[in-house]
Amino acid sequence: MKTLFKLFAAAFAAVAMSTSIASADVKFGVAAEPYPPFAEKGADGNWKGWEIEIANAICAAMNEKCEWVEVAWDGIIPALLAKKFDVIISSMSITEERMKTIDFTDKYYDTPAVMVAPKNSAVDGTPDSVKNKIVGVQVSTTHANYAEKHLQSSVAKIKTYQTFDEHNQDLVAGRIDAVIGDSLAMQPFLDSDAGKCCEVKGKLVDTAVFGPGVGGGMRKEDDDLQQKFNAAIKKIREEGTYDAISKKYFTFDIYGAGN
């Protein structure tokens, strides 16, 4: 009995000690799934990628210490509102709908959305070409909104997946006929062994759905953090840090139009 008691007490203490008083660090929230080249977890357990490096650079420009918190993508906005972290840095597009609940920093990149399908498929991105086909999208993304808005009436089905990889995987397996995703995120997939079945079929344009670009999501009340963040974005663009990091991953400027 005594040993049991001691075990109990030890386990309790261990649990209690893992709680700590909140520190003043800025916490970045990222979706817990690989999304190369923007963010992916390496085999050593650390996050790496263009977005991770840019955010760390912005953090340095703000003179803050930053920490990364992983959350499931479909719960990332509720987690932000529940104060699990302070800024969402997870390739989240700035849209009207999302702005009803959260604020965004200025955009830090902008890339178009594309439809990807097997090489021999007649799909080209228009609603007619996907008539009676199955299109895959990731849950809670602007790509999913686009599919709902434009393709709902012609497709046989829109299948929603929890992560980006899973819909690519099903495309390769042949369970779905096309996917909609970000052009740059698709590139590593199409370059890989698994992705050689498929290619980009068409660019999708709808500024109402896709918004002006990707920004950091923040709570509405965190105005000064927002200003600091925006100032830091400007700073790293002016200093050239943004371009230096981007050159490591891309051959062109992904900031998009409208400096």
């Binding site: 479909d74 509720p78 849950v139 929603t160 995987q169 397996a173 042949g174 369970r175 698994a194």
Partner: protein, 231 residues
């Protein structure tokens, strides 16, 4: 608390509810059908089959349902490209859809857990009854059909309600392989309206009602089944 989204999403929830019921019913039916031979073979033998059934139950009960789902859907799916001609085969319509995979995995899960229960139930039928049936000259299969199986099922009946509730509670996991049953619909509402608690509470309420219905149904059915009390 805001509930303005309810009328708009009600038809989706109805569809989701139907999917949940389908998942529940089909996997329980096929699972129980599978559980009976699995339980039986562990009591009668032959040894290799009994060992295989035991291993099956241990594997199913030792791994999380979520991993089983992902392994079967995404894992097998990743092997498809290496199997030539699979898209032309007659199985393709089934292999394409996510629903058969969910039924398959849930069925195996029910079979694994209930196999253990059925084993105990078959062992628990008094040997005297079986011997009496054999003394009457009944063929072993007839004994099984008339005496052993019905008595075992009678013993097991009360636990079936619990098993049904457990299976109901595992249906939300199907949402991770693109099957949008009631919980999946609530995640859609959560993403589109950004309400955190209301959809979850609504769905929790639905599950509580379903559980209540199941329990009441079983209680009613139990009163209808004749039970022979000893003495």
């Amino acid at each position: 608390m805001q509930w303005y989204w309810l009328p708009e999403y009600a038809p989706k929830f109805a569809e989701g509810l139907w999917l949940t019921l389908q998942l529940l019913g089909l996997s329980l039916f096929f699972g129980m059908c599978l559980a009976i031979p699995i339980g039986l073979v562990q009591v009668t033998g032959p040894r290799p089959l009994a060992w295989a059934a035991r291993a099956f139950c241990t594997m199913i009960r030792g791994t999380p349902l979520l991993i089983q789902l992902w392994l079967v859907y995404y894992g097998l799916g990743s092997l498809f490209p290496s199997v030539p001609g699979i898209r032309e085969s007659f199985l393709w319509p089934i292999l394409r859809e996510a629903f058969p995979y969910a039924i398959f995995v849930f069925t195996l899960s029910v079979a694994g857990y209930e196999g253990e229960v059925m084993r105990g139930a078959f062992r628990g039928v008094p040997k005297g009854e079986l011997e009496a049936a054999r003394a009457f000259g009944m063929h072993p299969f007839t004994v099984l059909r008339r005496i052993w199986l019905p008595r075992a099922l009678q013993n097991v009946f009360p636990t079936l309600a619990g098993e049904m509730v457990l299976t109901l509670k595992s249906t939300p996991l199907a949402a991770t392989i693109t099957i949008f049953e009631v919980y999946g619909i609530s995640t859609i509402v959560r993403q589109e309206t950004y309400r955190i608690y209301e959809p979850l509470l609504f769905v929790a309420g639905i599950y509580i009602c379903l559980t209540g219905v199941i329990v009441l149904l079983f209680r009613w059915a139990e009163n209808r089944i004749p039970r022979v009390r000893a003495g």
